[in-house]
C-alpha cells in the first residue's frame, strides 16, 4: 500500500512479511465482524423515500421508478455522473492522437485523419469472430435501442444501452476490420453530447418552471427520453474510447505482426473465450 505498485507479473519486490499480513487480516477481520454485528443488531426503520417516490412517480413522466429517480428526482447526480465519465475520457484522449499519427505512416493503413471509423485495409481479420459479428453486432445495436426505449417503463435506460453499444464497439474493434480514431471532432462532439443535452434541457426548462432541472410535468417524458438518447451516445462513445486507448497503446510499429489472431477478449455477455 505504501510502496509504488510494481508492474511485472511475478515481481515480488515489496511483498509484505507474513507477520504484517496476518496482523492486517486479524485487524480487518475484527472490524468487519463488528460492523456485521452492528448491522444485524440494529433493525433499520424503513425510510420514507420509497413511499415519496411512488407518490411523485405520476408527475415524473416515466413509470420505471429507478429511471424516475435517476433522471428526474436526482438528475443533478446523473449530470455530475456523466461529468465523471468526461473527465476520464479527456484524461485518456491525447494518447489516441499520439497513436493515430503512428498508424498513419504505417504502410497499408490509410491515414485515419479526421474520420471516427476507418476501414483497416490489410488487417489480419479473425475469420470466426468476423462471422459471429456479422450476426451479433446488429442484434446488439437493436437490443441497445430497445433497452433505451423501454427504460421509461421497464428496467433499462441510458447507462445499460450505452454499455451495450460500447460492448458492440469493442467486439468490432477486436475483429480488426474497423479502426476507431477518437481525436476527430465528431468523436469529441459525441463524447460531450450527453452533457450538452443535459445542460440545455436543465437551463431551458428554468424560465417556464422557475427552477433549474425541474421539467414541466406534461413535457417530462419526452424531455427525459431526449436526455437519455444523448446520454446513451456519449456513454457508448466514452466507454469505447476507454477501451480503444487502452487496447491500442501497444505501438504497432513492432516489425513482426503480433500473435496470429488477436486474443478474443471478453464479449460483453459470456466470460472471455479460451486462450
Amino acid at each position: 500500500m505504501f510502496h509504488t505498485p510494481n508492474l511485472k507479473e511475478h515481481d515480488h519486490a515489496n511483498e509484505l512479511s507474513v507477520i504484517t499480513r496476518i496482523l492486517c487480516a486479524i485487524a480487518i477481520g475484527t472490524l468487519s465482524l463488528s460492523l456485521i454485528i452492528m448491522l444485524i443488531v440494529t433493525d433499520n426503520p424503513s425510510s420514507v423515500l420509497p413511499a415519496l417516490v411512488q407518490q411523485q412517480l405520476t408527475q415524473s413522466g416515466v413509470q420505471n421508478p429507478v429511471t424516475a429517480v435517476l433522471l428526474n428526482f436526482r438528475s443533478y447526480d446523473t449530470l455530475l455522473e456523466i461529468g465523471v465519465l468526461l473527465i476520464v475520457a479527456v484524461a485518456m484522449l491525447p494518447n489516441s492522437n499520439f497513436i493515430s499519427n503512428i498508424n498513419s505512416d504505417m504502410p497499408g493503413n490509410n491515414p485515419s485523419s479526421g474520420r471516427l471509423v476507418s476501414v483497416v485495409t490489410n488487417a489480419q481479420v479473425n475469420p470466426t469472430l468476423e462471422a459471429v459479428l456479422r450476426w451479433l453486432v446488429p442484434m446488439i445495436v437493436v437490443m441497445a435501442g430497445y433497452m433505451l426505449w423501454t427504460g421509461a417503463a421497464l428496467p433499462g435506460g441510458a447507462f445499460q444501452s450505452g454499455a451495450l453499444l460500447a460492448g458492440a464497439g469493442v467486439l468490432v474493434q477486436l475483429s480488426g476490420r474497423l479502426q476507431f480514431c477518437f481525436t476527430s471532432t465528431i468523436a469529441k462532439l459525441l463524447a460531450t453530447i450527453g452533457l450538452i443535452a443535459f445542460m440545455v434541457v436543465a437551463v431551458g426548462v428554468a424560465p417556464t418552471t422557475g427552477v433549474i432541472l425541474q421539467y414541466p410535468t406534461e413535457l417530462a417524458g419526452p424531455l427525459i427520453l431526449l436526455i437519455e438518447i444523448a446520454a446513451t451516445l456519449s456513454i457508448a462513445t466514452i466507454l469505447l474510447l476507454l477501451y480503444n486507448s487502452l487496447a491500442t497503446q501497444i505501438p504497432e510499429m513492432s516489425p513482426k505482426p503480433l500473435a496470429s489472431n488477436k486474443q478474443p477478449s471478453a464479449s460483453n455477455k459470456q466470460p472471455p473465450a479460451q486462450e
Binding site: 507479473e9 428496467p155 487502452l246 472471455p272 486462450e275
Partner: protein
C-alpha cells in the same frame, strides 16, 4: 421459503470464494477471468435482490467492459515495452503465462 434461502446461500458462498480466489491466484490472467465470473455472479445476486436494472448494468459494465479493459492492460503489461530490442516485442502474453 427455505429453498430461496438455499439459493441465496449458494450464491453468497460462490461470490465470497470467487473473491478470495481472485485475489489469491498466482497468475494474473486467471485472476482477471475469476473477476469477470465474479461480476456475473454478482449480476445474478442483483436479480435475486430485486434490482434488474443493476443486473444489466453490472453484467454489461462491471463484468464485460471492466474485464475487457483489464485484459487489454494485462496484455500490454505482459509484452515488454518496444523500446528495448525488437525481438522481445512479439513475445506476446501467451508464452509466459503457462510456465510460472
Amino acid at each position: 421459503m427455505s429453498f430461496s434461502v438455499f439459493i441465496d446461500g449458494c450464491l453468497v458462498i460462490g461470490i465470497l470464494t470467487l473473491a478470495c480466489l481472485c485475489l489469491a491466484t498466482k497468475h494474473l490472467f486467471t485472476a482477471i477471468v475469476l473477476f469477470v465470473s465474479l461480476g456475473l455472479m454478482v449480476a445474478i445476486a442483483w436479480v435475486r435482490l430485486g434490482a434488474p436494472d443493476l443486473a444489466i448494468a453490472e453484467a454489461a459494465i462491471g463484468a464485460g467492459l471492466t474485464g475487457a479493459l483489464l485484459l487489454a492492460t494485462w496484455r500490454q503489461l505482459s509484452t515488454e515495452p518496444a523500446n528495448n530490442d525488437a525481438d522481445t516485442a512479439n513475445k506476446s502474453g501467451d508464452e509466459n503465462v503457462p510456465h510460472p
